[in-house]
Symmetry: C2
Subunit: 437 residues, 2 copies
């Protein structure tokens, strides 16, 4: 057994029913019908006004590793007939995929991904595709709201401890894509090149405790000796006013920053700023952290805060930990198909989408139209096609955009929203979507 | 570069500040002080009445893979001095760990994990330990509420698509541990031996569409031929009454089950039960799914439902996607330490805990007491020690309990709660915790 492969095949990140459907479809011959599956969100969570599509890059990496070798086959053979096993052994996706670029905004019904091929080759990808897009889009969507609430101040992602250990680097990537500046997560630094950040915790101050009590000054001195005067000292382990005084006494006015992790952050930031300025440390930055979300970030906008450290609310999607996207069969051999279950209707047929904007750049509408029909009239608005080719004939398009391009796309998307679209309060999607039947 | 190792080392699932603190502590000599770090939750989420500790098994596996080899060192050397790099190269945890067994209930302040060793060897494990325990405990805690709401009916975990692709098998494991019966996730079947489940999706019915419309009967016939008459048919793609009639027409009254995935599940379950009984299919089971949580599961208790399929709300912790546990330094060289930050106080000193119960088995109180002091008086109650040895001198205790034992522990824990403890409504923790200073 090849252990390298056990760790990297993504083929079992799949729901069992995909393989039982495959077996039945292979047996009755329908498995080879040409199909289109589409990924979309029926709604945005909690009155959100936009979503940020993310995860396509990770999804394509995972697709390349979707192979059934011995360890995967050993699981499947317990419930599958021999011909299905043979089919799985040879499986690789040979179809086409188009999708919204990473960082593109989306709205209810946006056809975020279009997967085309035989039923068999498309149906087995459902869970893997949805897991990645739902997770990464949930984090990126929350992150974009925080970034826009922060109004240009530095944002550090530090939520690894509050999510699954391998969701953590993916969360850091999604946050960076949406405009965060850095992450505490070292695997995200290694794997995705996200800039790393971080200095000290309360434990480091508490470590410098003798039988006569705590020596905050000793902890600060040690940190500065090891990391330089540009480091950020955590000043709230005991008393913040004393902590700031000690910090500047030890570091001098060139100290890089102080971090406040508890209490009323707005009041404390102002107090600490005054104290730092009075001590001549006018360029020492103030970093705040501690259960921040987009609302508390926005509430601190008038305060002298230089950087935000965001953890729990970021990695849990700030109340919406999954984007709720679905993967639906919409076309079989050229015929549109759709279920009619109550409240879960879907729209049949392979689709494309354009987003219309005024010449000022403000977006006004998204139009979803049949791929087989003509592009819609755009009434003098500028129109941008939203689906870009990602896979052709099973081959992943090689010039995949780097994360920097996705960052630019999110930044551009936020600027292009009508002003109500940036409100944090619950409301309607920022632009309407028109579906041309 | 060894790719097997790249995939399996857990050393970079770490926040950068743990390594910068390490560097500073190595430089000033404090790194070698003997410390205790404890994991606990300050509170339970959203008025929950108990939590379920989970993840220790996965955490011990991850601990064994916490090694810095070339790929990890390459990231660390960008910000660390040479002596710290040498220390990391030789790193393995050589200390002791005690913890609440997987499946043990916990309450605010319960010392769920006690990690003892030098500051250096303990501090670097913070993020990895918390990521795993916070994720798995969040899922197990939500799952236990659903299991108790289901009153013994079959529970199938099917939420993989609504969480990170590698959080999905961990979620399936946590749900199984808490009393779920099966999972749709094949990687959880392979990795943890959780029983697999699953049959068909709407796409399979829609696939059987010709130019003259949909052939639901053809889809059902195909599924039964491939999977046998004991399979579960999804009957709500078009019209449920017609779907049930077609299902029994095709399968006969021995059909294993039907699944309803949309609409008013209570009304539909009763209607479908009547219809099945009238058709002679009195033993055909009814499986319901579609945005179920503990509240809707409880609301269906009076309806003829045989099994629940639960997705989104399970893998997102039903409103509490992280358990919010923290990892705090509580003792240095035998001296208790604690920070005094507002609202984030911690209690110094290495601790132990016992849970008291009446002779009926009902628990009444948890007592957390100093490990250096005597065991508390138990006033005629039965007392059970909650911390069990997991690691000694860096060596993982080999006779780790299997998941079946954890299932039994959760089941026993739920039975032992005072009756208010099983209420789904928000309230106080089911038992008080007393802290002996």
């Amino acid at each position: 057994m090849d252990t390298a492969h056990v760790a990297t095949s993504t083929a079992l990140l799949t729901d069992q029913y995909e393989l039982t459907m495959l077996a039945a479809a292979l047996a009755d011959g329908s498995a080879h019908r040409q199909c289109t599956f589409e990924v979309f969100a029926r709604r945005l969570p909690h009155g959100r006004r936009y979503g940020v599509a993310a995860g396509a890059g990770r999804m394509l990496d995972a697709l390349a590793e979707f192979r059934f070798r011995e360890p995967e086959l050993a699981v499947a053979e317990k419930f599958l007939p021999a011909d299905t096993m043979n089919w799985l052994r040879d499986y690789e996706f040979r179809g086409d995929i188009d999708g919204y670029g990473e960082g593109e905004l989306y709205f209810p019904g946006s056809p975020i991904l279009s997967v085309r091929g035989s039923f068999a080759e498309c149906v087995v990808l459902e869970t893997l595709i949805l897991s990645i897009l739902n997770h990464d889009s949930a984090i990126a969507s929350a992150a974009a709201r925080m970034v826009s609430a922060a109004g240009g101040r530095r944002m550090i992602e530090m939520g690894s401890r509050r999510t699954h250990e391998l969701a953590a680097p993916a969360s850091a990537r999604a946050a960076y894509l949406a405009g965060f500046d850095a992450t505490s997560n070292l695997e995200a630094v290694r794997r995705y090149g996200v800039p790393g950040a971080g200095t000290s915790a309360h434990a480091f101050t508490l470590l410098h405790t003798g039988s006569d009590g705590a020596h905050e000054a000793a902890a600060f001195r040690s940190q500065i000796e090891a990391l330089g005067v540009g480091t950020t000292l955590l000043v709230d382990t005991f008393d913040i006013t004393q902590g700031v005084a000690t910090a500047i006494e030890v570091a001098g006015p060139e100290l890089g920053g102080v971090r406040i992790d508890s209490g009323d952050l707005g009041v404390l930031a102002r107090q600490v700023r005054d104290q730092l300025d009075a001590l001549g440390a006018t360029r020492t930055r103030i970093v705040v952290s501690g259960d921040l979300d987009e609302y508390s970030i926005a509430a601190l906008r008038a305060e002298p805060v230089d950087a935000y450290g965001v953890g729990t609310s970021l990695v849990t999607g700030s109340g919406a930990p999954t984007a709720g996207m679905v993967y639906k069969l919409v076309e079989v051999e050229g015929v549109p198909v759709a279920k009619r279950s109550s409240h879960k209707e879907s729209r049949g047929g392979t689709k494309r989408a354009v987003r219309l904007s005024r010449h000022t750049g403000t977006i006004v509408e998204e139009i979803v139209y049949p791929a087989s029909g003509p592009a819609p009239e755009t009434d003098g608005f500028e129109a941008r096609e939203l689906l870009t080719p990602m896979v052709r004939g099973g081959k992943i398009i090689e010039d995949r955009p780097p994360l920097q391009d996705s960052r630019a796309l999110v930044a551009h998307g936020l600027v292009s929203l009508p002003w109500e679209g940036l409100k944090l309060s619950p409301g309607e999607p920022a632009i309407p979507t028109t579906f041309i039947p």
